[in-house]
Symmetry: C2
Subunit: 353 residues, 2 copies
């Protein structure tokens, strides 16, 4: 059997011809319908062996054309290069998807409504089997339209409350609440939140968690919102001004890791010592936070868990066409490092009074 240099693709038709049987039979056997279609075991075995031998791989285009399924999942994130969370999720999803015979294409929305809508328009009717999306605000209609067509969707990182759609998010409210509680119990009194100017659920919940903890403790709240689309420098100066204007602040919670990075630069610029002058906690872990001096306390997302749930939801929806909607809320973990530890003595002192 001479292996030609340029391997001519072998088709189901070639197999039929070679074995002297019809392509129907071959197709049935390949699709595991041998018993159902009453193909004899002998023939089944013969075909399967031959298929192995010639290393037959079905043409996905032909399969796709016939079945209407592309075996492609679209992963639509804010920016695969910006937020480590998305890259890590992408990595973990990839393997499982490949195991099930799915391939993943990706695209980035920059968290812009227009871009997301454009991308969805581009992809729909292009036989994408399912979508994993971190949705910007305002794309409810397009998502609903996909849902109406029965296309599986899993939202991730944030939810669209107007919609009834699978999603995997973390418990932003409680994890932020816990982080603020941690600061309070370490004796900090004037705790600021620096967050995104956004009404998306994940940000709204972090804000709510902050407000609840501050209110319950009878403390004053300090909230500063910055804009995702502004330049790094702009936002750093915004934070600098905010901290200068509110110089009683003795602790600050950054609601995303990139805001955390901006915040650290602002704090460095102001020559404030962490945690002596100002304590710090950031949402989302990052190498920088681990190895910064001092190391930075963070609320870490359970990335492997998130990924596992996302891909499982997607694959289940794809295979079983199960219309049940799953809303998965995972706990996040407060990783306490040096940047938030101080005034414990004061706390104990007060406690003893």
């Amino acid at each position: 059997m001479p292996a030609s240099k340029v391997s001519k693709k072998v088709s189901i038709r070639d197999i039929g011809k070679e074995l002297g049987i019809s392509i129907t039979t071959v197709s049935f056997i390949l699709n595991g319908k041998a018993k159902e279609k009453r193909i004899s075991e002998a023939l089944t075995k013969k075909v399967l062996e031959f298929v192995k031998e010639v290393n037959f791989k079905p043409n996905m285009m032909a399969q796709g054309l016939r079945t209407g399924k592309s075996k492609i999942i679209c992963l639509m994130v804010e920016d695969i290069s910006n937020n480590l969370l998305f890259a890590q999720v992408a990595r973990l999803i990839e393997e499982e998807a490949h195991n099930k015979g799915y391939r993943i294409i990706y695209c980035s929305t920059d968290n812009k409504k227009e871009k997301a809508i454009e991308l969805i328009q581009l992809f729909r009717d292009r036989s994408i089997d399912g979508y994993i999306i971190t949705p910007p605000e305002g794309i409810e209609q397009e998502i609903q339209s996909l849902l109406n067509d029965g296309i599986p969707i899993v939202l991730i990182d944030r939810n669209l409350p107007l919609l009834s759609c699978n999603h995997v998010v973390i418990d932003n409210f409680n994890s932020t609440h816990e982080a603020i509680r941690h600061l309070i119990s370490n004796g900090f009194k004037n705790i600021a939140l620096i967050t995104l100017n956004s009404d998306q659920t994940q940000m709204a919940d972090r804000l709510a968690g902050y407000v609840k903890a501050i209110d319950d403790a009878g403390l004053q709240s300090y909230v500063k919102k910055v804009d995702f689309h502004e330049s790094d420098d702009h936002n750093i100066s915004e934070i600098i001004s905010f901290l200068q204007d509110n110089n009683t602040i003795d602790a600050v919670f950054f609601s995303t890791n990139y805001i955390g990075v901006w915040g650290l630069q602002a704090i460095k610029h102001l020559n404030l010592r962490i945690p002596d002058d100002i304590a710090v906690i950031s949402f989302d872990d990052h190498d920088l936070f681990k190895f910064y001096t001092p190391s930075i306390t963070v609320v870490a997302q359970p990335v492997p868990d998130i990924s596992r749930h996302v891909i499982r939801l997607m694959l289940d929806a794809l295979e079983e066409a199960d219309p049940t909607i799953h809303e998965i809320i995972l706990p996040a973990k407060l990783i306490i490092r040096e940047s938030s530890m101080r005034k414990v003595v004061v706390e104990k002192h007060e406690f003893l009074k």
Copy 2:
């Protein structure tokens, strides 16, 4: 014109029927062959307007089946979540590819030969139009086999010298040489290289650049190799031992950013001050290096340039079937920060002698 809830897909056949013309004509017009095939301008215009009106999108599966082209490019990297370079390249490539009507699927090799081979086996004969690959060692055969089939390939980050294949890399030799020269001219005498235990071109060139600079200056070389697949902790202790065993070392060059991160931890563990006890330069920039105290000097890769060249090479190869092989070597940039600045006085002193 009532828009139905579930948009029934409109096909080229529907268009022909609706307009009372043949699907051939529609196809010619849609593919811009109207003039060539002598379709009248009036009809061309009518068809194009109707196509707009009903928002017709050709079925990619059918197109793919007929033409043998999938309009899909595979991006095969080491680990999209690990090395920022890859995620950034992915991001930049994405947009340009979409503009040209291509979609990108990705997969990660973990820099393992077996995994890469398996993935290539999986994808080939699956009508992937082109491959952008950061190749592990030892996959020359599979790449050659793709090349033999005339499939466009662009290698990135490193080359496979045994093959004659498009690639986009940076000038590892000269950029490393320049970084070591910088250390030398800042008066450092015992400069170590900590690099990967790998014969891949990018690592070999970095090593060669180091050796050349050290030899030309008549200095002693200190080289430590660590293993990509070992755990973080293992490699950190390796580095710690190496620095302890060679305590005359006063500067160190890390040949990748993750080795740099390990190195910083080792240095922190040894309580060495940067740059007073030991100067530091790392390959590849990273938030951590920018904002570390002190900030870390790096050899930064020109990520946008790399991406631009990669996608242009790929698209050119896809569209024109141009068999010319392009080898693109881009300069990297030494970004001097605090971690490598010291002993300038000594240098000046010597210079004056």
